[in-house]
Symmetry: C2
Subunit: 334 residues, 2 copies
Amino acid sequence: MADKKIILTGDRPTGPLHLGHYLGSLENRVTLQDDYNQFILIADLQALTDNVDNPQKVHDNVLQVALDYLSVGIDPKKSTIFIQSMIPEIAELTIYYLNLVTVNRLRRNPTVKNEIQQKGFGENVSAGFLMYPVSQAADITVVKAELVPVGIDQLPMIEQTNEIVRAFNRTYKTDALVEAKPLLSKVSKLPGIDGKAKMSKSLGNAIYLSDSADLIAKKVMKMYTDPAHVHVQDPGRIEGNVVFAYLDIFDPDKEEVQKLKEQYQKGGLGDVVLKKRLITILNDFLTPIRKKRKELEQDPKYIMDVLFEGTFKTQEVAQKTIAQVKQAMKLIYK
Amino acid sequence: MADKKIILTGDRPTGPLHLGHYLGSLENRVTLQDDYNQFILIADLQALTDNVDNPQKVHDNVLQVALDYLSVGIDPKKSTIFIQSMIPEIAELTIYYLNLVTVNRLRRNPTVKNEIQQKGFGENVSAGFLMYPVSQAADITVVKAELVPVGIDQLPMIEQTNEIVRAFNRTYKTDALVEAKPLLSKVSKLPGIDGKAKMSKSLGNAIYLSDSADLIAKKVMKMYTDPAHVHVQDPGRIEGNVVFAYLDIFDPDKEEVQKLKEQYQKGGLGDVVLKKRLITILNDFLTPIRKKRKELEQDPKYIMDVLFEGTFKTQEVAQKTIAQVKQAMKLIYK
């Protein structure tokens, strides 16, 4: 383990994970855990920054997200899953780092700027939300992560982290902190079932890993296809057709998909036929995950044990980091 | 102890304490420790917010400030002296509270606004400096302080703390946090030796509790009096005359001071005579403090033991507070 590079990744426990999460990160983590020392953060504190009024939701989703992790094959023997709020060293590092970042720098962070606009916070943005990139820098550096899997839109976060790392090491004449490299995730092309570009809980267009077979059938039957494709014999459009987007990704028989596309464009292939095919394929994919999840749900104590074990392991790492950091800051008293 | 009200007070360890500190707070603390459960915070982390480049100074002054405390009669059996950076719960509370305060609210804090201007931070104010009132709210609430001795200029800090307390208790439907009342300190009228209104380390016009008898003689001989009072026989002014300001405070013989004032105003009383009187009086006052300090300096291990014991006691209190706070925020996992 010691020779493996350290990865930090994670999720905000604000809802169950969906197919977009699977393709965007979970699948990748299952692969990465064999070759890396992978820490997976369940960011309950970060989830609270914009869910102040709903702590119960955040609380409950910690277990749900962990269930999703284990169901898709994240192996607690290979990956270290931990709960953010149980690592006080992250809060301590955040406080130390806040002295090294100007308020203006935080305001200029493109990701945060964008999110403030999207969420309509305007001038009433909370201090906690504005400084969450600093808190993320603490998440990353507390385990001395060398790699952080991110989407291209999150690159400014890594940049901010490394600015802090350099400022800290320079200011306190140390090499206690380690810069992180982004591990660019392939961008998931999976649209929402409504045809919107992004699958997301808030848009209500997601297929969850924990959805029942019935629910999946219902969601697929509602999928956006080609509104001009009214009769079976009409020619249909492939572009923007969600069913084909999913078949492209999940159907193992690429040749058959190609044939279906041609037939659809010519006319003579109905949406219902395609949708039934997709339902079968999605269920083939999700059934083992769902089955694993059902088993694990029987034993929530085991899940919590996994979380506590991962958290304790992370605490040990965090304690080493904070000791070095405090040494550099002359905060060790004897 | 349990029935006594809880007080939080403290200092930033950025330099030795001076006569202004004595009159403004230390004297008061020596009295308060008999009737209150008094916590005294050595705010090393807060000191770092504007001493990022000089952690060694902050480190060294932790011991010096503790020496000052014990020298003036703060009794570790009655008061709990603790080191801020050794209470991670303060960092945790700060992070939680940041979600409950807007950036704009922090910018409007009159004390912070004033200090940003004074220190010339302008638009480059660090996030750590801007949010230090939130960190102070954490200092106060982590020990559930009911009273905080403050100068009138610090009232906005108590206001900010209580806003956070109310927002927290309302948001998380709890009574875990306690509002603090200001205990208004009498304003110290002690000017600097240069006649400037405020004695301060940065103005270089302070008499320190740890100054030697020689240094005190030197500082008093340099004291600002009445620049128009050139010859002994000239009439002199009392107003703005630093020597009389000090005699008013420290000379136990008020009647004699009154006589000297009259003689000075009439003419025929030299500055040197007055200054020699003040040197004697200040040394009478400071000699026991200096003697106690010299003794304590021989045993730095004892001072550190006092600090660690106070810090451990505070940790126990802090752990109880954070457990209640986390319970309210649904951050306890089982």
